[in-house]
């Protein structure tokens, strides 16, 4: 028996789940797909007194298109996202990022909301959410609130969610014409957590210039890192290899405290951030019709 004992609850509605979370406070953990929490339980790195299993909560696994983007239920599996024609067509960056996550066996069970709420700094979805200005909806004892992705990821495994709040859905805005995108990462093996990665969007403006840019790095700090200075270098300029290299160097400098661990040194992560930004921008520019 690996996990320490816990009380187990399997609520069937969001209200029931929220009531349980309110009752147990800091002592409770939400079990979504379990692909990150179960290892922590098995190794007893997490020892919650109460486990609130969200897998039986009804109505949290739909994908629908609205005028403001794709709305994806928090308990939608990554496999469902990967196989959704709607996602592939309307939010291709999210689709591409999904394919970089772990392996089919993990994506069958792991959920969109679980990844976002777990907020692993090396995970793809948090960076994609920040790059796309996604909006997360949480339900708590005092009702529902919406949180911008930019405000959601606070630090290492820490989000703006209150202990009694359940993430219910996420809205990912879709792209208009002339927007290019890329998600690139370097992992030791395909499917491993990235040592470093980047989510990029570029919007084509007039006369072959960038109207807007987003560069969001992951795996290099305690939360997704938006490389604002690199973005500023791009806006209003005609893209090209020199500009992309310059933006890459700037992105490398945007990292305050790169992680240094057994997989990669801080310096190597900074190097990867530069290279991946340059490559990601070139890929996004080609998609946006901005290729020099």
């Amino acid at each position: 028996m690996k996990p320490a004992p816990f009380e187990y609850f399997a609520p069937e509605t969001v209200d029931e789940a929220v009531a349980l979370l309110a009752e147990h406070g800091d002592e409770a953990k939400i079990l979504a797909g379990g692909q990150s929490l179960m290892p922590l339980l098995n190794m007893r790195l997490a020892r919650p007194a109460a486990l609130v299993d969200a897998t039986k909560v009804a109505g949290l696994d739909a994908i629908r298109e609205t005028r403001r983007g794709l709305v994806i239920g928090a308990m939608t599996s990554k496999r469902t996202v990967e196989r959704s024609a709607l996602v592939r067509e309307r939010q291709p960056l999210l689709h591409a990022a999904t394919l970089l996550i772990a392996h089919p066996q993990i994506r069958n069970r792991g959920t969109v909301g679980g990844s976002l709420a777990h907020a692993d700094p090396a995970a793809e979805y948090p960076a994609v959410a920040v790059a796309l200005d996604a909006e997360l909806t949480a339900r708590g004892p005092r009702g529902e609130r919406r949180i911008a992705a930019a405000d959601f990821f606070v630090s290492y495994l820490t989000t703006a969610l209150e202990p009694a709040e359940l993430l219910t859905e996420v809205r990912f805005p879709t792209f208009g014409d002339g927007t290019g995108w890329a998600c690139q990462e370097i992992a030791r093996r395909h499917g491993d957590f990235a040592m470093a990665g980047v989510a990029v969007t570029l919007k084509r403006g007039r006369r072959g210039r960038c109207a807007d840019a987003r560069v969001v790095l992951f795996g290099v700090g305690p939360a997704p890192v938006r490389a604002r200075a690199a973005e500023q270098l791009l806006v209003g300029e005609a893209p090209g290899e020199t500009l992309f290299a310059e933006a890459g160097r700037s992105a490398g400098e945007a990292i305050d405290e790169p992680l240094s661990d057994v997989h990669a040194s801080a310096e190597y992560r900074r190097h990867l951030a530069q290279v991946l930004t340059r490559r990601g921008l070139a890929e996004a520019a080609a998609r946006a019709g901005l290729a020099p």
């Binding site: 179960m38 290892p39 897998t55």
Partner: protein, 173 residues
Amino acid sequence: MERSHAMTPRRVSLTVNGESFEALVEPRTTLVDFLRGELGLTGTHVGCEQGACGACTILLDGKTVRSCLMLAVQADGASLMTVEGLGSDGRLHPIQEAFREEHGLQCGFCTPGFLMSLFELLHDRPDPTDEELRDALGGQICRCTGYQAILRSARLAAAKLRGDPAPAGAGGT
């Protein structure tokens, strides 16, 4: 005292390899420990217990999952398939035959996970590309360095399931 019921077993009913089971389990029991310890189905192996190695991969309602990353109580009402459900009474499943013929295993510890992952893929994609095979099997770790033989086994398994005529020299490299 308020948590004295955390250890209280809960009733679980599920189907494994077509057979119905009902049992009482403590909520913290992982599905793989339940399969092995309670049901005696020891074909599913426990490796890393953190989802990385893939040895415990089974099918849950037709989809591959890591049975070390699920609680047994979560499988209540589900239909499971383990490696014991592949063959029948002394007859190997074509995927198992392919692994035998192409030497797709050495020590065999990882094999149940490879077989189940391949089962799911070939159900969805009877004629997979090599890239699809590598993607489907990339989450399974073999420490006997048998990946090339495993890939050959996987290709042969797909051919067998499609009913392709055996290629000349099959059973060799």
